[in-house]
Amino acid sequence: MKLTDDPEVEEFRAEFSDFLDAHLPAEAEARERAGSSAHVPEWARRWQRTLFDAGWLLPGQPPEFGGRGATLPQQLAHLEELARRRIYHSFNPQGLGIIAASLITFGTEEQKRRWAVPILRAEITAALGMSEPEAGSDLASLRTRAVPAPDGFVVDGQKIWTSGAHDADVLLTFVRTDPDAPRHRGISALLIPTDTEGVERRPFGSIAAEDDLDFNEVFLTGVRVPRENLVGPLNEGWRVANGSLGHERTLLWLSYAERLEDLLRDSRDTGADQDWYATLRMDLTALRLLGYRQLGEDRDPAEISVLKLLGSEAVQSASLHALEAHGAEGLSHPVRTGPYRHMHHEHFISSWFERYARSFAGTIAGGTSEIQRNIIAERILGLPR
């Protein structure tokens, strides 16, 4: 255990920082609000490609997938540097961090060439078709069916909460391929291009605004999917899903730490009370420390639940305090513009109320706080199911 920074990590950070100084496009200041989490403005496509070509998009990956084989602490430094400057490396984080990443792990050579690389180069965007009306945190309950057809599958069913689907070119979709198998065993992962006949996407607004269109309902009716779009082995979709989320989860805590830091930075002159600052600083410091610890070898994956619970609830309570500190002004909509730069659109569109409301995304999405508590109790503390 040591406080001092690893020189190899700091060298890596400095190199990336120099790259950003030299290449960050002027358009990055444009403050263009993205249409959804899969909508990538033209200039941002070019920016993502620049990062890909230089090996700074997903530094943990090999060069052919936009990286440079960086270690986990180096990957963390990369994300920290982006966060510090409030820079997006992609407007399609799920496409990048979950879908392309799982194709690299589970996909065929052809799938990597045809889907993963174009997603990484921002030529196409992707969305994740995981949740269903009857299956949220309980993925094993999903009902969307895929039945074998001569050259592939025919898919029928419905997805919901599919972020960015209406702007996406392809969906990584989890479907039931063996209705008779135990619940976890009969699931497969399929790539479904959104222009396939029978795919209907209906975006709907979030609590932030009626026209804040990110969520979609996706209806799949007699959708024909070729066999070559099956990701991983048939009926092994559970493994793909867990692997996919694993990519996202390892450094997920960092996004909560960023938000806490933003709240700290943005609330400095609001007259919020000392007690609140103290709690915020303690939450932030503890979250970072426990996150760094998670970079160590052989950590229990269930500890991610500690980070998610601590981080998402700290953000929520800090957002509530910030809202209260602003009094009635916190209700005004849209916008309290701060001295924001670069691409962090979520901040300059947010009223204080909106930030608080959005903090519930953290305690609901990716497994609710209640599910995280069950995981901690059962897997870490050994309580009976």
């Binding site: 503890a286 426990l290 050994g382 309580l383």
Partner: protein, 290 residues
């Protein structure tokens, strides 16, 4: 930075745990001699935090905490036997003052070391039966002024680490209980309401422990953040015990409310660690606004 205990530190933790288990229940003097013989008093800050966490876990009755984290940092040396320190002029609620061989008295003029026998120390009955608290007439009534500002970082670290250890023990006792105890035909621990409280206790302990280790690292490296880190550690430990006390006693039900149940020792130790040298609220106030 790296935030995982290394192999040596994990080994130390195991050895400490075993050593404490071995002397548990023996006379205090024997326990104290064992700790001295193992060189624990000379441990550097992070190792000291690990030792203190284990001592808190065992509700240790010896004067180790005050000697290592009150007397030593103020005087820059170890006492001839056991030691403690008086942080305010009135000398109230001084840990182990009734049995310390040497007492460091913090005055506006600096630190004065007085033989324990020369001080009239009167032990105060405390709820924690193993804790020695005493009022002393330190003879330097001018005192040290701002209590929180004058207390060494190591003293705050010591109470925080002890508190975290006691909290961990409370959680372990609760886990044993709810795994075994059946109600309505099921183990208590299978009920979600119980699981969620246990999970919250675990997260609070992890949060406080992380800040404790961070504090120890900043002291070890004399990092400029050390004073702030000490306030954070003490505040987080106090908040942690508040939640762990409440949920722990609640989940034990009526059985936890009895004198015979050992749960009480850890509840009281944890609570005492919060109340001594400023509770969580006091240390939150002392933190800098960035």
């Amino acid at each position: 930075m790296e935030f995982e205990l290394d192999e040596e530190q994990r080994l130390l933790r195991r050895t400490v745990r075993e050593a404490i288990a071995k002397v548990r229940g023996r006379p205090e003097a024997q326990q104290w001699d064992t700790y001295l013989r193992l060189g624990w008093l000379e441990a550097p800050p992070l190792e000291l935090a690990l030792i203190l966490e284990e001592l808190g876990y065992a509700a240790d009755p010896t004067p180790f905490l005050a000697t290592a984290t009150w007397f030593a940092p103020l005087t820059g040396r170890l006492p001839t036997g056991s030691g403690t320190a008086v942080f305010d002029g009135a000398g109230r609620y001084v840990l182990d003052a009734d049995r310390a061989d040497e007492v460091a008295v913090l005055t506006t003029g600096g630190v004065v070391v007085v033989p324990g026998a020369r001080l009239a120390a009167e032990r105060v009955p405390a709820l924690d039966p193993h804790l020695h608290l005493a009022h002393v007439d330190a003879g330097h009534a001018d005192g040290a002024g701002d209590l929180v500002a004058e207390v060494p970082d190591l003293a705050l670290l010591g109470l925080a680490a002890t508190c975290v250890g006691a909290c961990r023990r409370i959680l372990d006792l609760v886990l044993d209980h709810v795994k075994q105890r059946e109600q309505f035909g099921r183990p208590l621990g299978s009920f979600q309401a119980v699981k969620h409280k246990a999970a919250d206790m675990h997260v609070a302990i992890e949060r406080a422990r992380a800040l404790t280790h961070f504090c120890a690292l900043t002291i070890a490296e004399d990092d400029p953040r050390r004073a702030d880190a000490a306030h954070m550690a003490k505040a987080a430990a106090g908040e942690c015990q508040r939640l762990v006390f409440r949920h722990g006693l609640q989940l034990f039900g009526a059985m936890g409310f009895t004198w015979e149940n050992e749960l009480q020792y850890y509840l009281k130790r944890a609570q005492a660690c919060d109340l001594l040298l400023g509770s969580a609220a006091v240390h939150r106030k002392a933190l800098l606004v960035p």
